[in-house]
């Protein structure tokens, strides 16, 4: 899996906007005023580049609500709406 990267699923029914994930995965997630993560690439399930997969797993383990999942396949190449955020 990690050769092609992965994607990050956020379970919005569980997430409480503790903001850990945006802090740990600044390359992938921005943060809104209430601590909730925002995908920088505009996808519902943002892409996790290969070199960040291990780090994303760390965030997955630390999320206090277990709301993050690193899913094995990268997202489809075309973003599904929204627009790109500049990297911070």
């Amino acid at each position: 899996m990690s050769r092609r990267g992965a994607r990050l699923h956020i379970d919005w029914t569980a997430c409480e906007g503790r903001g850990l994930c945006s802090e740990m995965l600044t390359e992938i997630l921005a943060i809104d005023d209430w601590g909730y993560p925002l995908a920088r690439d505009g996808r519902p399930e943002p892409a996790v580049p290969r070199e960040l997969v291990a780090h994303a797993r760390r965030a997955e383990r630390l999320c206090p609500r277990l709301a993050l999942r690193v899913l094995p396949e990268p997202p489809p190449t075309r973003p599904q709406g929204g627009s790109q955020l500049p990297p911070s």
Binding site: T13, W34, R61, L62, P64, R65, R69, G81, Q84
Partner: protein, 202 residues
């Protein structure tokens, strides 16, 4: 040699109490949903977990050294089965219960993603039994029970957890706090609207 075991057991017990206090205070404070002053948000769960792992190691030293201390008269079952001990069975049993609970808390937490959030959370509330049991165990048994300094350390521990509780209960919740409730999606920065409502992964 026996003296060394005895000193080690007492010291490790005290350090375990202090570490468990730190663990419980961090657990309580983290539920406030707000970073601790001066720390990044991810620091709270990392400290909570690592302090609890350290507490388990010290707890192992505590019971391990007293198991081999001839004066404590501990048998292997006394480490796991409460109230069966020969020497001050009540106070010892409270410690045994706390030991069982802490071990269960740590094991279930390391397997948290397999247990699922709801089951794990229910089990984790046992922390509110484990820590007071450990406090009582420390006050009631052992060589140092009744000394002024042990009482002072215990008082500081209780105060620490009480302060964490106050931090959690008295400060406004961020969701309804000074920023008010979250803006409806339409009012957000238009570049930041990829929020899709989704549940657990299929």
């Amino acid at each position: 040699m026996n003296e060394a075991l005895w000193y080690t057991g007492r010291g490790a017990g005290l350090v375990t109490l202090v570490l468990l206090t730190v663990v419980v205070a961090l657990g309580v404070a983290s539920r406030a949903g707000r970073p601790l002053p001066g720390l990044p948000r991810f620091a709270t769960p990392v400290l909570h977990r690592n302090a609890s792992l350290l507490a388990v190691v010290l707890l192992g030293v505590h019971v391990g050294s007293l198991l081999f201390d001839p004066y404590a008269q501990l048998r292997l079952v006394d480490l796991m089965l409460p109230f069966a001990g020969a020497y001050r069975p009540l106070w010892l049993g409270l410690g045994t219960l706390a030991f069982d609970l802490v071990v269960a808390l740590v094991i279930t937490s390391l397997l948290r993603s397999r247990l699922g959030a709801t089951a794990w959370r229910r089990i984790h509330w046992a922390a509110y039994a484990a820590w007071p049991l450990a406090v009582l165990h420390g006050l009631g048994t052992g060589t140092d029970a009744g000394t002024a300094w042990l009482r002072a350390v215990t008082a500081v521990c209780v105060l620490t957890v009480a302060m964490a509780g106050a931090y959690r209960l008295l400060l406004p919740d961020p969701a309804t706090g000074p920023l008010g409730p979250p803006a409806p999606p339409g009012n957000r920065d238009p570049r930041l609207t990829p929020l899709t409502i989704s549940g657990p992964p299929r």
